[in-house]
Symmetry: C2
DNA sequence: TGTATTTCTTGAAGTAGTTCAAGTTTTTAA
DNA sequence: TTAAAAACTTGAACTACTTCAAGAAATACA
């Protein structure tokens, strides 16, 4: 199962056999049950999670008590609160399994020691973070320039399967409109 | 002037004297005049810009022909379109100097060769990108949970000087509301 | 398999913002 | 030092959404 992350790493950098062996011995997968949290608001985030199989989400609870999803993560994605992770500050976010999910949980201390032993991993995590930031920039662009209906249709075109995979109210909040409005969009009542 | 970026790098990693020398010989600053672009929509972004002094912004032109600022960059920030940079695809963005700005422009080919000679720089760019992504996550949180007036007040509290530094209409679009509404918020007419 | 829980739907009323248009003020540069 | 350009302001009309409340449908699990 650790194979998944090793395969993903090898898309970006070369690993020596000894490095693969080291990685295999350092990593373990674990299962997060549907609806369980790996991070809650107010905690310090000391772990990065690589999703082997399943779906996680990062969300907040707004002033009206409604959950708003900021980010989904699926197979081959890393999910964490980088700000809390780096600054050792309490997190503003929840991270939760949307489905029962297999993850590789990488503790900060473990990761730091691996990064020293396999410096080329720095490049891997650099590229992962740069791509994630690029995607966040595009996300902000879509939020700024498209209407609710356009955002829904655009997302559905890009990720047709994913739309079926998560509850509509989670997707609605990710696209920044209400669950009720989502219903009306889908029914063609807007 | 390259000192600025070297100092910034040294906040995160150690550099050998030889590495500093190599960096100094590889980097040059240039001046971008106010309102000049370093990237326009449709171009491929092959350069990262480190801001030594001044202010740049990344923006788009929306369907109504209005500019919307997605990101500002000031002293000690890197600005680029990471998605275009990595995927070698045409950019959706403009990057422009808000004030006349001194930058260190780092071409992809140059950067790649420096990264090979100074592998520890990978760590520096990893941390820069991870922090930028963390900040983008917080930005999305604020956009999702705060009213226009709250976003303005929050930004003003966090960055009191910056509010004076850029035209209000640019800041309004960055905070995702209209220039007219900004005027009313500031006049207390909301 | 049935019941509790979660998710989705619908309409009515409300509102936080936008858009437009025109005028005013400030900044820029020849 | 003045004319042109850029930035800001204001009010009135509008609209893309939200909120609320209640019921219906789908899903989970004992």
């Amino acid at each position: 199962m650790q194979d998944a992350v090793i395969k993903h790493i090898q898309k970006f950098i070369n690993l020596e056999p000894s490095e693969i062996a080291l990685l295999e011995s350092s990593l373990t997968t674990s299962q997060i049950k549907k609806k369980d949290h790996v991070l809650e608001e107010g905690q310090i985030c000391n772990t990065m999670y690589f999703i082997v199989k399943g779906c996680m989400r990062q969300y907040i609870i707004n002033s009206r008590g409604t959950e708003q999803t900021l980010q989904f993560g699926v197979e081959n994605w890393w999910i964490t609160d980088y700000l809390s992770y780096h600054n050792h500050t309490t997190s503003h976010f929840y991270i939760q399994a949307v489905e029962t999910t297999e993850v590789i949980a990488l503790e900060k201390t473990v990761l730091e020691s691996i990064l020293i032993k396999i410096p080329s991993l720095e490049k891997y995590f650099r590229i992962v973070a740069q791509k994630a930031f690029g995607a966040a920039q595009m996300r902000i662009k879509f939020l700024f320039t498209m209407s609710a209906e356009e955002r829904y249709n655009h997302f559905k075109n890009q990720q047709p399967d994913f739309v079926q995979r998560v509850p509509q109210y989670m997707l609605a909040s990710y696209l920044d409109f209400s669950a009720e409005f989502m219903s009306k969009i889908r029914a063609g009542k807007v």
